[in-house]
């Protein structure tokens, strides 16, 4: 399942963010560089480390671009996994690294 565009500058994450999705997600993010981005993680059921890597890289990239990278809504699974693998959730709302 591919990450779908929910509108300009916003991205709805796929339910399963596994190894297969990592490339896809990466592609999406690369193509959306340069403008503010809102991420909807409310439908996420499973997050793999590789997608987390892509997301963290995204946060950094947006920061370099001085644009906002904001995870607006996040499912429980998304939050818990981020916590589990030690990604400060704040990263993904781009407040600090």
């Amino acid at each position: 399942m591919a990450a779908k565009k929910a509108g300009p500058g916003s991205l709805k994450l796929a339910a399963v963010l596994d190894l297969n999705e990592a490339s896809n997600l990466h592609g999406k993010l690369v193509s959306m560089r340069g403008s503010d981005l809102k991420i909807d993680a409310s439908g996420v059921e499973r997050v793999g480390v590789q997608c987390a890597q892509v997301l963290v890289a995204g946060v950094k990239a947006w920061e370099d671009d001085k644009k906002t990278f904001l995870v607006e809504k996040a499912s429980d699974a998304f939050q818990k996994t981020m916590q589990l693998i030690g990604i400060n959730h704040e990263n993904l709302v781009a407040k600090e690294i």
């Binding site: 990592a22 560089r33 987390a52 892509v54 963290v56 818990k80 030690g86």
Partner: protein, 759 residues
């Protein structure tokens, strides 16, 4: 790839692992003390356990677990691999194989046997066998150790173990439990950095971390420094690493066990933290203990989600195990992928470069190879047809076309050989199976027998390998049951009480020769003869050579065993063996020396797909006679032909007489016998060892023909083994020499009769 496919791959791998296991154990049995051998054995059991867990094969898992625990003792030098110990292990390997096949094909396993072995294995693991080194336990003994840490070590099962088997059921178990409620425990520092392979094999670091978090109170720091900028990163590479601090009552081993299926694909460090290490210099994120939501969403399909048990990472492990193999075939793709890593899209399971380096083989569906072989067969036929029509239309024979054709012919021949080589497999797996049979049967009959194998790497067509196992099993059983004497008798005869059975394979003149020799009593010719007379197989006054008597055992309905035993003599005799061998286009013979043992020799074609044949004409029909059967060809002279009885004729060859068989007459191509002087005689060796001269009208030439099964395309024809297509596109029949020879003796050409023929 659906679950069943994965499972199938798992079972295939199991077979390989079992073979590895057995050969390793046998090496140990022969005194090999190389730690790598022990490791290989351990790994084999371990992999089987891992995969089995993923598919919920609980019996298999629990047995493998016990087995593994004991092997671990050997690996860590706590248990000396004495012959007694290895005996138990070999038996366990057999049971493990049974469990695997039971899991694959359904059916049961001898429960009492496996339970008995579990006990024996456990006893071994606890150093209870007299031969093992005193009183050593599989894990560090607890007595000396003070307070918390040792308690942690005494804590029992590995997290991946849902078998209910406790590797260390010691008396201090209670002691351990008493201490447990205090969530004190000790603090371990774990540093975990997955490599790319971990992910590409289907493992997921998040799941490993989740399982780790269940062991105790965990804080985690994710090291994201290695992460490159978004546009430079490879989304499928591994950049994150973790520093984890975990307070747990479990042991270091338990922590390592979490990573057990990934340990080769990550950098892992586990150490006991210095006291007061909770003040970390690294900002640690405490991990919530309730991660249940992740369980629900992490969806494996098959497993029952046993707590702490067979969970997703085992599935992943199985998948990864299964895919390591299939990955190899994707190696090429993996290489491409590396070059354009960033562009690589949704592909799943992209093989790690490591996988490519590790194996140089590919796993190919047999059907594909068969299709290829068929096509090459067609190519050979086509090429023959082409060259024939060119020759017919171009009488000069010097044109460039002819040159090209010759090259084409060579190329097709080479292609054919190479394709055949794809199907060629070493006989090793079959031989290995035999060692188990020897063990079991010898055990049953209370004999001590050693199986020596030689030439296991001799290669032969896969079909032949598959079909040789059964007759070979039967012969091995016979050899153990009847061939080798009891230890007492052997000693009385001045032999080593331990009998030896030698199984050899070698290539000889385009065929494979398998020899089975025992050093037993040899054939009791008197008894065989008497038995044959009793069973009306030979006349009471028949004058038979020793060789002929020996070969009587291949007659239908012949068994010399005094009583029908469980092992051999289940109503199938050597005649069945002979028939199966002959069905493969092979020959079997026996030579025996009373007091010194018997040797069975089987000669089999290397492939069942092509055959070198002599193309002959009989009564206007074209037939192919297998070249292997032909000893020589000759033009009979009138003076050499002698009549014998009403319509039998003999031909005198170098002062000996040989029955003349008119092939055209036997196959009912003609009503009257042909004049031998006008034809050609093919001297053939028949199964019984005797020679016959087959009369044909003319020889067309020799050529390699592609065998087309007559049974598959038409129906069995007595006297005909198969068919082929010649260069001119016509179908030619391949002669079943033995059936024809037997028929010439007045026996009916029903296959079972013709095959039981002896001299």
């Amino acid at each position: 790839m659906d679950m069943n496919e994965i499972k199938e791959i798992f079972f295939q791998e199991c077979e390989e692992q079992l073979a590895e296991l057995e050969s390793g154990l046998l090496k140990l049995n022969d005194g090999d003390r190389d730690p790598e051998t022990v490791n290989a054995v351990f790994r084999a059991v371990h992999s089987i356990k891992g995969g089995a867990g993923a598919f919920g094969l609980d019996d298999l898992v629990s047995f493998a677990h016990v087995f593994e625990t004991t092997l671990d003792c050997v690996r860590s030098n706590k248990l000396e691999p004495t012959p007694d110990v290895l005996k138990v292990m070999l038996k366990s390997a057999d049971v493990l194989a049974d469990l695997v096949s039971a899991s694959r094909d359904g059916g049961g396993v001898d429960e009492s046997r496996s339970r008995g072995l579990v006990k024996e294995l456990e006893a071994l693991a606890h150093g209870e066998l007299p031969s093992s080194s005193a009183h050593e336990a599989p894990k560090p003994a607890p007595k000396a150790a003070p307070a918390p840490a040792p308690v942690a070590k005494a804590e029992t099962p590995k997290p991946t173990d849902d078998s209910g088997f406790q590797p260390i059921p010691f008396s201090f178990d209670g002691f351990g439990e008493d201490e447990e409620p205090a969530i004190e425990g000790s603090v371990y520092e774990v540093s975990f950095k997955p490599r790319r392979e971990l992910y590409s094999k289907g493992n997921e670091a998040a799941l490993l971390l989740r399982d780790l978090s269940r062991l105790g109170e965990m804080s985690i720091n994710c090291d994201t420094d290695a992460l490159p900028p978004l546009d430079k990163m490879d989304p499928e590479a591994s950049y994150f690493g973790w520093k984890i601090s975990i307070r747990t009552t479990k042991s270091e081993d338990d922590i390592r066990a979490v990573f057990e299926f990934a340990e080769w694909d990550c950098d892992l460090e586990v150490k006991l933290a210095e006291e007061a290490s909770s003040d970390e210099e690294l900002p640690m994120v405490p991990v919530p203990f309730d991660l249940s939501i992740l369980d629900d969403s992490s969806g494996g399909e098959e497993e029952k989600g046993a707590e702490q048990g067979v969970s997703e990472e085992t599935v992943a492990a199985a998948v990864s195990a299964a895919e390591t193999a299939s990955n190899v075939s994707r190696a090429a793709r993996a290489v491409e992928k590396k070059e354009s890593a960033a562009a690589a899209a949704a592909a799943q399971n992209n093989a790690a470069a490591a996988a490519a380096a590790a194996g140089q083989t590919i796993r190919v569906d047999l059907d594909r190879v068969d299709r290829l072989i068929n096509l090459v067969g067609e190519l050979v036929i086509n090429q023959a047809m082409l060259s024939q029509s060119v020759i017919e239309n171009d009488a000069t024979g010097t044109s460039a076309v002819n040159m090209g054709l010759e090259e084409l012919q060579q190329l097709t021949r080479e292609i054919q050989d190479s394709v055949m080589a794809i199907r060629a497999q070493p006989v090793k797996p079959v031989f290995q199976r035999m060692s188990r049979i020897v063990r079991e049967v010898a055990d049953m009959v209370g004999k001590s027998i050693r199986l020596v194998t030689e030439g296991e790497n001799t290669e032969v067509d896969k079909t032949v390998i598959d079909k040789i196992a059964e007759p070979l099993t039967h012969m091995i059983r016979n050899a153990v049951d009847h061939g080798i004497e009891s230890p007492e008798k052997r000693e009385a005869a001045g032999k080593d009480p331990e009998g030896t059975i030698k199984l050899t394979a070698k290539h000889r003149s385009g065929r494979i020769l398998i020899e089975l020799a025992d050093d037993g009593a040899g054939i009791n010719r008197e008894r065989v003869r008497q038995k044959a007379i009793d069973n009306d197989i030979i006349a009471a006054d028949a004058n038979l050579s020793d060789d002929e008597i020996d070969n009587l055992i291949f007659m239908a309905g012949f068994s010399t065993a005094d009583k029908i035993s469980d092992i051999s003599g289940r109503g199938v005799g050597m005649d069945v063996v002979k028939r199966s061998i002959q069905a493969l286009g092979g020959r079997i013979s026996i030579s025996s020396r009373p007091g010194y043992g018997s040797t069975f020799t089987m000669s089999l074609p290397l492939t069942l797909a092509v055959l070198d044949g002599m193309v002959v004409t009989v009564a206007g029909q074209t037939l192919v006679v297998p070249l292997t059967a032909i000893v020589e060809t000759l033009q009979p002279e009138a003076a050499a032909i002698h009549s014998f009885g009403a319509n039998q004729r003999l031909i005198s060859i170098r002062n000996s007489f040989c029955p003349l068989v008119d092939v055209g007459r036997v196959l009912n191509y003609r009503a009257t016998q042909a004049n031998p002087v006008e034809g050609v005689a093919l001297l053939v060796e028949s199964e019984g060892g005797g020679q016959r001269a087959l009369m044909v009208d003319a020889i067309q030439g020799q050529r390699q023909v592609v065998i087309k099964s007559l049974e598959a395309n038409y129906t069995h024809v007595p006297g005909i083994a198969a068919a082929t297509i010649l260069g001119d596109g016509r179908v030619a029949l391949i002669l079943d020499v033995d059936a024809v020879v037997a028929a010439s003796r007045g026996q009916s050409m029903k296959p079972e009769m013709s095959l039981a023929a002896t001299g």
